[in-house]
Subunit: 137 residues, 2 copies
């Protein structure tokens, strides 16, 4: 087993790929009156929408620089890095912004069980109308 | 040009499939202090995330009942049915809510050019770091 660089938390973990966004791009995002922007997280391999959370400018910057997803918790008023406690880490493969620059989309490689704290792979595991499908796509 | 029934805007349009959600399910959604909930729209066939908008309880109810996506415009303070003007309609195939019941995900059949007012298929057509890819998945 060879020594892993600091950016690879454990042997066999996915590689970390920072995204070279410009400062102008990051500042051009239309943050809301609380300085936040919605962030959708989608799994690269399956296309499944895994979760939704909020970022501020610094969380976005951390996400692009570290290649891991960072969010701002509105309830706890603190930053959190997805999977830092659970091990269910997300490695960013692409980062998009929408036409109005007020919503973000991250395509990730999901490590571990999945994105949801319940143990489900996606947070969107329940359907209106009692559909028993485990999730979209 | 023959007269089309109200639920089938044009010959050859996708079928409309209302979703039989219960009133309890719709009322159980955790709307924010403005009565709104984020709604992600994903294309059924490709898994591509098409757009993001906001719904209130009535927009959600209309969406499930009509099988077309309805949103609440925060800027115009009015309901809008996706594609009603442009013809780029969305036909709901499944509707999910997340673990906290405060975010919705609609899997749709997208009619016309796509979801974005720019003419792009997805609103998320630009990537941080200048990636030239047309969009995820």
């Amino acid at each position: 087993m060879s020594a892993a660089p600091p950016t690879a938390p454990s042997p066999g973990s996915p590689s970390v790929t920072p995204i070279a966004a410009t400062d102008a791009e990051i500042r051009a995002v239309a943050y809301d009156e609380d300085g936040l922007v919605p962030a959708i997280v989608q799994e690269a391999e399956t296309g499944q929408v895994l979760m939704f959370a909020w970022m501020n400018e610094d969380a976005l910057r951390r996400t692009l620089e570290t290649g891991r997803t960072w969010f701002w918790s509105r309830s706890r008023q603190e930053y959190w890095c997805k999977g830092e406690t659970s091990g269910d880490r997300q490695y960013v493969r692409a980062a998009y912004y929408d036409c109005d620059m007020d919503v973000l989309l991250f395509v990730v490689e999901q490590e571990g069980r999945g994105a949801c704290h319940t143990g489900e792979r996606s947070c969107f595991f329940r359907a209106f109308g009692g559909d028993a499908e485990p999730g979209p796509v």
